[in-house]
């Protein structure tokens, strides 16, 4: 059987080669055939797993409900210290000093990442900003969203903290974080389809054991994840419950 692995469409380009190396590593380690299938956006990726075209997925937490409760996927692993934290940025000279200074009509640059956008909109609730009194500017990537702020086309943008942290100093000096989330309980999951059940245990163990070798640690470093832990079904159910409270 040939397996298909997919990863989050918003995975930073710098981490992509690491995922291909991990895929090669897992094929050798488990003696299986597996290829990576990339999707340009979450909608086309969702369509693929609804059509049963994906066996393993490093998934955005937003999709956990659909994968686990509706499609019968199992959550095998979670990344350690890799919570989906976000930053709401503005231009350094923007008039608002705090979220509560934002006003109705604020222009928001967003990329199509449902978990990032969900958490950011929740943070904006405290300033009485919602989809009904703000203007959304759809961007094809987080970098484009940040550029919209730099050019003054948008007042604020939503970025994953991991992406904000990697912006160059020149760019960061022109921007200012209005708020950073510290949620910690929402994170991506490595999930597996029912039909791949025969290798769930082996695959999960292989991911956990990446830290035991230099080659494994190099792979982890290149995908920006310090280590993987096994994930109990109840851990996944709890995170799904949390996501459901936020949607």
């Amino acid at each position: 059987m040939k397996y298909t692995l997919s990863i989050c469409p918003t995975t930073p380009a710098a981490a992509m080669s690491g995922w291909y190396i991990l895929n090669t590593y897992l094929q050798k380690k488990l003696d299986i055939a597996m290829h990576i299938e990339m999707y340009n956006d979450f909608d086309s990726q969702r369509l693929a797993f609804e059509k049963d075209e994906i066996d393993f997925i490093y998934a955005n937490p937003y999709d956990a409900t659909l994968l686990i409760r509706d499609l019968g996927f199992s959550a095998l692993n979670k990344p350690d210290d890799s919570a989906n934290e976000i930053v709401i940025i503005c231009k350094d000279d923007f008039k608002a000093q705090a979220l509560t200074d934002l006003e109705s009509g604020v222009k928001i640059a967003t990329a199509n990442d449902p978990a990032t956008n969900l958490v950011a909109m929740i943070l904006l609730e405290s300033a009485d900003i919602d989809a009904g009194n703000s203007i959304n500017i759809d961007c094809s990537s987080f970098i484009i969203a940040a550029k919209q702020v730099l050019k003054g086309e948008a007042d604020i943008a939503f970025l994953p903290k991991a992406i904000y942290d990697k912006l160059s100093k020149i760019i960061k000096d022109q921007l200012r974080p209005l708020i950073s989330s510290e949620i910690s309980v929402i994170h991506p999951i490595f999930a597996a389809s029912e039909k791949s059940q025969s290798i769930h245990r082996e695959l999960s163990q292989a991911l956990c054991e990446l830290t035991l070798s230099d080659a494994g640690n190099n792979i982890l470093s290149s995908i920006g994840i310090p280590s993987f832990s096994t994930m109990e079904q109840e851990d996944a159910e709890f995170m799904i419950d949390l996501m459901d409270t936020l949607k």
Binding site: L123, E125, S126, D128, S184, D241, L242, T245, L246
Partner: protein
Amino acid sequence: MGNMSPEHIIGDYKEYLLQHFNNPPRTVYVTAIETPFPAGKLIVSRTDLAGNITHMNQAFVDMSGYPESELVGQPHAILRHPDMPKAVFKEIWETASRGKKWQGYVKNLRKDGGYYWVNATVIANIRNGEMVGLSSVRRQPSAKKIALAEEQYRQLLEQEQA
């Protein structure tokens, strides 16, 4: 869940006797000191079907003012503020028990007698088709909506006490 202790209270306080559903009356001490919601964080907790706390995150512990050891296994009503009408908690329980999400504003009582407002969402935890408890996630409230909730709860409380 015992009575609150005056020695833990910071600032001038008033004493109230709260009658909790399914729990003995509890003496609480209340000050006018507000602790602001920690920006960017979520407060998360879970209870079992009896309303006892089974899980919590650090923000829950920090905002409550209690150490974690004094919260695990205690009724969630340990945070009940006397300004909160009983009808709100009845509605939370009934809504979640129907499998629906409850969302609203809640004023919580800290161990030191102070308070904090939260924008809370409560859902039932369903496992194998059975309700096994409740999860609650609280986010930073809006000042405008706190003002609306204060007025609404004051009226409800007056009706309950009439």
